[in-house]
């Protein structure tokens, strides 16, 4: 079945804008998706990244005792100011406390952040390890000072543009191409159609990421005119109205007396757990913790449904519920921003959903790469001068080297995380190793003569460095895959198994490609020189 096509002028314009926007953002978008794919599991591989937290998860914590201890060690910590405590979980057994320091009246507020280890009872003000944070920050180019976030925001915007124009181009044949997709037939046909079919398969996913990604990076562009024009520049009013924080609406008295007796936090939490047995505590916000009118807001979620989260606010002095916004009670307006967050961070369907997201992310990377290759192949014909062709080839090689070089570099990042000893400079050294190795790996790839050779080179480099990850973990921490499994450190074991399988798959594909090339001795460039028709 054929659908109505665009008239020739609009078709050609759309086609051109799709090509140009796609080729300009391609490698940046690949980096965003590739780093983002790992970021999905940032919490899950945290115990791998930080051997210090490879410990059973302690559910029962005496929060009051931790805060007392914190106040004792840091007398400037302000117990009356707002603070947020994130509860430990199986993947992240540390508890974190964010609050404020006591400052003189009129002075700028000072934030304070610390981690508490329930096993050792230690408080430490900084996270020692960096792999997850590095990849997380890389996925919005946060390492580029000042403009990195905006850059990634506009990449996401142009991605939305490329997705929509892509659909418009393929509109006419979208159903026939989709239904006609097959793994049989020649490789050429497969690769040609793959860009379209995988693009279509991932379409809702990609469009969702384009739009939610722009939202996160360019939200300021939307907020600014709204605050200025709708709220006459009153920022506080705008925030109170739009991002309604139910707990913030509860008035607290500045001169509230110091609390004499209040219910222990762990008892309040235990009560909540009894009342909502299927929900887990994510974090809690304390206001006026040491005063008579103190409140606790608990954020709870069941972790496996889209609207299965909520907050409940209780008074510290008597445990009375003063506000609740539990599942089913939220209005549309209260659900929009959390909904965007759930879609973007895949936090509404457990691990299975994250795996689906991960695969779709890899599909997207594939669509990006195949798009670059199509761009080059479509220009591999008589009407282009040899000079232009050389330029297209060089651009493709540089793009592929940057994109494919990131994969072994991520494995190197994981290895160096455990190899570089913990110290003040740990994060800096590990990050330097990561970025320098990415650069070196990119440069190495540029030495390859053809795209096919470059791909097999990176399959080998990626395969070998992936295999190194479980080895490094076994040697440095003694947690070989089997020991981790027997110790029930499943997240550590699965991270190792993931890298092991990835390494093996890459090596198998790499050897296959080399063998194929050897059997096709006539023309080694045949694979990439084949004309591509669309």
């Amino acid at each position: 079945m054929k659908l109505k096509n665009l008239p020739p002028r609009l078709y050609n314009i759309t086609f051109h804008t799709h090509t140009v926007s796609g080729i300009v953002i391609s490698f940046a978008l690949y980096v965003i998706f590739f780093a983002g794919a790992f970021t999905l599991f940032r919490k899950e591989f945290y115990p791998w990244e930080n051997p210090a937290v490879r410990q059973p998860f302690v559910a029962e914590i005496d929060y009051d005792a931790v805060l007392r201890d914190l106040k004792e060690k840091n007398p400037m910590f302000d117990l009356s100011e707002d603070m947020t405590i994130s509860a430990p979980s199986a993947t992240h057994p540390l508890m974190s406390v964010s609050g404020h320091l006591i400052v003189k009246e009129g002075e700028e507020e000072q934030h304070y952040h610390t981690y508490y280890n329930p096993h050792s009872g230690e408080l430490s003000s900084r996270m020692e390890t960096t792999a997850g944070a590095t990849l997380y920050r890389l996925h919005f180019f946060d390492q580029i000072p000042y403009i990195g976030r905006y850059l990634s925001g506009f990449v996401a915007l142009f991605f939305a543009f490329a997705v929509v124009t892509g659909v418009m181009i393929h509109w006419q044949n979208i159903l026939t191409k989709f239904n006609g997709f097959t793994l049989k037939g020649s490789r050429k046909v497969f690769w040609t159609n793959a860009h379209t079919v995988f693009g279509l398969l991932g379409l809702p996913f990609q469009f969702m990421y384009a739009i939610t990604g722009v939202y996160y990076m360019l939200v300021l562009l939307v907020l600014l005119p709204i605050v200025v024009l709708v709220y006459d520049g009153d920022q506080a009013k705008a925030i109170a109205d739009i991002v309604s924080q139910p707990q913030q609406a509860i008035e607290l008295r500045k001169d509230a007396p110091i609390a004499r007796n209040k219910i222990p936090l762990k008892d309040i939490i235990a009560d909540l757990k009894k009342e909502y047995p299927e929900m887990k505590l994510n974090y809690m916000q304390l206001r006026h913790y040491d005063r008579e009118d103190g409140t606790l807001l608990a954020s709870l979620s069941d972790g496996h449904s889209f609207t299965g989260d909520g907050t409940i606010t209780v008074q510290l002095k008597d445990g009375a519920v003063v506000h609740h916004l539990m599942p089913g009670e939220k209005t549309y307006a209260q659900s929009v921003l959390p909904g965007i967050s759930k879609l973007h961070f895949a936090t509404f369907g457990g691990l299975a959903l994250k795996i689906v997201y991960f695969l779709l992310t890899l599909f997207t990377c594939f669509v990006i790469i195949s798009g670059v290759l199509l761009w080059k192949e479509a220009r591999n014909k008589q009407s282009y001068t040899p000079e232009q062709k050389r330029f297209h080839h060089r651009v493709t090689m540089v793009y592929l080297a940057i994109c494919f070089g990131l994969f072994p570099a991520v494995a190197v990042l994981f290895c160096s995380e455990l190899l570089v000893p913990l110290s003040e400079k740990h994060s800096f050294i590990v990050n330097t190793i990561f970025f320098v190795s990415w650069l070196v790996l990119t440069v190495i790839g540029l030495g390859a003569r053809s795209e096919a050779r470059l791909t097999s080179l990176y399959l080998f480099l990626g395969g070998v460095s992936s295999l190194a990850v479980p080895l490094v973990n076994g040697v440095k921490t003694g947690d070989w895959i089997w020991t981790a499994l027997s110790k029930q450190s499943y997240y550590v074991a699965v991270t190792d198994i993931f890298w092991l399988l990835t390494g093996l798959i890459c090596l198998v594909f790499g050897f296959q490609q080399v063998r194929r090339k050897k059997s096709k001795t006539a023309d080694p460039e045949a694979l990439q020189a084949a004309p591509v028709r669309i």
Partner: protein
């Protein structure tokens, strides 16, 4: 494939269309949302929906800008509509 160059615009026109889509499209997308927030009895809902709908609309307006025959014309259309919608927003607010 690739696109037939006879349908594509010249560099000056192209620059106009790109800026019209990026800047004009952004302003128009915002002003439409502002107007809707003033006209509909759901101000908060409209503004929050804007968290995604503004970007979707912006994307659409960027594409439409390329369809215009003249870059000057599309700039004028986006600019006039933005001014009209913003004025209407102030009037109905």
């Amino acid at each position: 494939m690739p696109a037939n160059p006879k349908y594509l615009s010249l560099p000056g026109q192209r620059a106009l269309k790109i800026t019209a889509g990026l800047i004009g499209g952004y302003c128009l997308a915002i002003s439409i949302h502002l107007l809707l927030s003033a006209l509909l009895p759901y101000r908060k809902e409209v503004l929050l929906t804007g968290a995604y709908s503004i970007f979707i609309l912006w994307t659409g307006l960027m594409i439409v800008a390329f369809f215009a025959r003249s870059g000057w014309l599309i700039w004028a259309v986006y600019l006039v509509l933005t001014l009209v919608f913003t004025a209407a927003f102030y009037y109905f607010r």
